[in-house]
């Protein structure tokens, strides 16, 4: 401790001022100079520190630290110089000087070593030149980036976007500053984001050109959240700051659509060719542009013989003049598909010269080369034959029913007449059994006659029908009520007739229809006197007639059956008739293009409904 006291003590020394003989001039000179040097040395390290802190990129920053320490130390020696003018602690001053020396020598040595490195630091000139070169190359790179047809996104290894081109802005809808410096995940829909960093890391771990084509199904995401299918290729870029990746993103929406369209077109072509009916497409001037396989089959020409030729070659000569007019009319008509030559017989011409009955549908096809017409042609030879066969078969059947019933009547009349004659002439002359047998024979023959007559009446609805003319239903009904006057009186029935219209019909059959329905109501009456209402109202452009009674009604499960021939719901003898009345009614209504049905509740009554084509309404009343 004595040693330390000795060190800090000034005992035994003369203040330095003494050496200056306490002359104020020299004292002031030293004092002011040392003070200024110390103050200056005290500020320099702060300035250096500030500089170093601001210029983080500064090379050799440790050198500035060394300099700072060295200058502080120098400053302190000067402070000591002032101090020792009056207080001669020369040990302390010497130590401070020694510290300064320690700071100075390595700094000097290091500085020497630094010179070559410092020399390597480009000069400002150099730097400007280099900067210009860098700027030029950056401009080139940017131009390259901008000239790329794809959106280009440059990222660093952490996925931060370093640079993008204008296409990226356009494609993704982001402004540049919203992307640069951000992670590239923002360009992906959220569902892809989780696994993406892993892929990115894999790329930077093994850099190399890679692409993900559109089939992978990846999508880009715009700023507004909308998505679009993309194709991506990634290449590594060696940059001074490290490895970067350049990502080229291509929007394949349009290509996908085009591909889809091409695929659809290919399918359409196949469909057209595989279509089960002939198709012929013609251009604006009636030149055949396309035919399908079935058209080749139908007309007997090969595709090559048809395409490029006028479509008239497929028409029988007698139609060709008229056809030109139809073509013009179709081209100028509203553009929609329609059936050709409605109501007319159409024929095509086979290569062999034979005519083919056809049905043709026409559809306009707008193309870049003008309005094309697509004709679908169906060979109706077979259909015609079938229709003809059906018509003939129906006619024959009707003829058969008519002739059969007609011819049946003759021998039947003989059986009936002569058994009855037997009854007339020989009743009581033979025994009781003979009388009974004769009765059965007469009864059977009469019933048979009735059936045959009904069958004949039924077949006549078709075979003996008259032309459809306006028929005043009111008049017809009053006639019918006149005919039925006796049964109506016997049944004590009341018939209410509403206002009835004029319909398009066969007067005789309309009368028969009313007669059968009212007759039915009279026949199947309940315990109270029959009340029958006949009405009509317009329903969906047609007349809906109703004949309502308060009779025994019918279980609705038989509703369809009762319109069939000879269908009876009751045992013989209870109600008269062979069960043909409603079958005839149905046939009449159907011949008039209408429909007949019924609604009924057993024990309450029945309403028969039927429809008829209207002509006009005419009020009539009973």
């Amino acid at each position: 401790m004595d040693w330390l006291r000795e060190m800090l003590s000034a005992d035994g020394f003369m203040p330095h001022g003494h050496c200056y003989l306490w002359r104020p001039g020299v004292l002031w000179l030293h004092l002011i100079s040392d003070t200024l040097i110390a103050l200056a040395y005290a500020t320099i390290p702060f300035t250096l520190m500030h500089f170093v802190r601001r210029r983080r990129d500064l090379p050799f920053s440790w050198m500035f630290v060394c300099f700072g320490i060295f200058i502080i130390a120098c400053g302190v020696t000067h402070v000591m110089e002032i101090w020792t003018l009056w207080i001669p602690t020369y040990w302390v001053a010497g130590f401070v000087k020694a510290v300064t020396a320690v700071a100075s020598v390595p700094t000097a040595i290091l500085l020497v070593q630094l010179v070559p490195k410092a020399l390597a630091i480009p000069s400002v000139e150099n730097l400007r030149a280099t900067g210009e070169a860098v700027a030029a190359s950056a401009a080139q790179f940017r131009a390259l980036l901008e000239s790329a047809p794809d959106a280009m996104v440059i990222i660093d290894a952490r996925g931060k976007i370093v640079m993008i081109n204008a296409q990226t802005e356009r494609l993704f809808g982001y402004r540049r500053e919203k992307l640069v410096g951000h992670l590239d995940e923002v360009l992906l829909p959220e569902r892809f984001r989780a696994e993406y960093p892993e892929r990115r890391n894999a790329f930077f771990a093994a850099p190399g050109r890679r692409s993900i084509d559109a089939d992978a199904g990846i999508c880009g995401r715009r700023e507004d959240g909308s998505e679009f299918p993309i194709e991506v290729s990634v290449s590594p870029i060696e940059a001074p700051s490290g490895l970067l990746a350049s990502i080229a993103v291509r929007d394949v929406t349009e290509r996908n659509q085009t591909q889809a369209r091409v695929r659809v077109l290919a399918i359409a072509a196949q469909v057209v060719d595989a279509a089960p009916y002939a198709m012929v497409m013609t251009g604006p001037r009636g030149i055949i542009k396309m035919v399908n396989h079935e058209a080749e089959q139908l007309f007997g020409y090969s595709r090559d013989e048809l395409v490029g030729q006028p479509v008239d070659m497929l028409l029988p000569e007698r139609f060709r003049d008229a056809h030109a007019g139809h073509v013009r009319a179709f081209s100028s008509a509203p553009k929609k598909a329609r059936t050709m030559g409605a109501g007319r017989e159409l024929h095509g011409l086979h290569k062999s010269g034979t005519e083919i009955p056809v049905e043709i549908g026409l559809g306009p096809v707008e193309t870049a080369d003008g309005l094309f017409t697509l004709a679908s042609i169906i060979d109706i030879t077979e259909r015609r034959a079938r229709e003809e066969a059906l018509r003939r078969s129906n006619a024959e059947l009707e003829q058969f029913a008519y002739v059969a019933s007609h011819d049946l009547q003759e021998p039947l009349r003989m059986v009936a007449s002569y058994t009855e004659l037997l009854g007339q002439r020989y009743r009581g002359k033979l025994d009781d059994k003979a009388d009974k047998y004769i009765f059965y024979a007469v009864d059977g023959a009469k019933r048979m006659q009735r059936l045959v007559a009904d069958l004949l009446a039924y077949s006549r609805v078709g075979s003996q029908g008259k032309a459809m003319v306006p028929v005043d239903c009111g008049e017809v009904l009053s006639y019918v009520l006149n005919v039925l006057a006796e049964p109506i009186r016997q049944a004590d029935a009341v018939v209410d007739v509403g206002s009835l219209p004029i319909v398009q019909g066969d007067e005789g059959q309309v009368g028969q229809l009313f007669q059968n329905l009212i007759g039915n109501a009279l026949k199947f009456r309940g315990p109270t006197p029959p009340r029958i209402t006949v009405e009509a109202r317009l329903h969906r452009g047609r007349w809906l007639f109703s004949v309502t009674d308060n009779g025994i009604g019918i279980d609705m499960q038989h509703a369809d059956r009762i319109f069939e021939m000879f269908q009876r719901l009751h045992e013989r003898g209870k109600y008269e008739g062979s069960g043909v009345g409603l079958a005839i009614a149905k046939r009449i209504v159907e011949r008039h293009g209408g429909r007949i049905w019924l609604e009924s509740r057993p024990g309450e009554g029945t309403t028969f409904f039927f429809t008829m084509h209207s002509v006009t309404r005419k009020a009539t009343s009973s």
């Binding site: 007609h406 007449s417 002569y418 009855e420 004659l421 007339q424 006659q449």
Partner: protein, 141 residues
């Protein structure tokens, strides 16, 4: 007028022929009825040919339409074309009630058209009516 009324019945159905004869026989006036079964025989009878060379000209013809071979329509047409036969009244008596037959017969010159009723009594009364009208009411040429 003592001469019996001469009637030619053209009817292929013997049952009907018998019924008609049976019914007409019940009339008050003497009746001379000949029956032929087809159109060819009817023509021969009317024109007195072949087996009917001695046949008398009938006062009235009851004519069925549907006959084997030459049918009643042809017989009627021939009669109306023939000068000697044109004036003989022809009653068409047939089972047909087809409109075409009715209209066609009158157009061809039938004097009247009767459809054979299916029922015996109705048939009998129809024949009686014919008898009553043509033999009693109407004057025959």
């Amino acid at each position: 007028m003592t001469r019996p009324i001469r009637v030619l019945l053209v009817e292929d159905n013997p049952g009907d022929a018998d019924l008609i004869r049976d019914t007409l026989d019940g009339g008050a006036r003497k009746l001379d009825m000949a029956v032929v079964g087809d159109g060819a025989a009817a023509s021969d009878y009317l024109l007195r040919r072949g087996a009917y060379i001695d046949a008398e000209r009938p006062d009235l013809v009851l004519l069925d339409l549907n006959l084997p071979g030459v049918d009643g329509r042809r017989v009627l047409a021939e009669m109306r074309l023939h000068n000697d036969l044109r004036a003989i009244p022809v009653v068409v008596l047939t089972s047909s009630d087809a409109e075409s037959d009715i209209a066609g017969s009158y157009e061809a010159g039938a004097s009247c058209y009767v459809t054979k009723p299916g029922e015996l009594t109705a048939f009998q009364s129809a024949v009686k009516s014919i008898e009553a009208f043509w033999f009693k009411v109407a004057k025959l040429p």
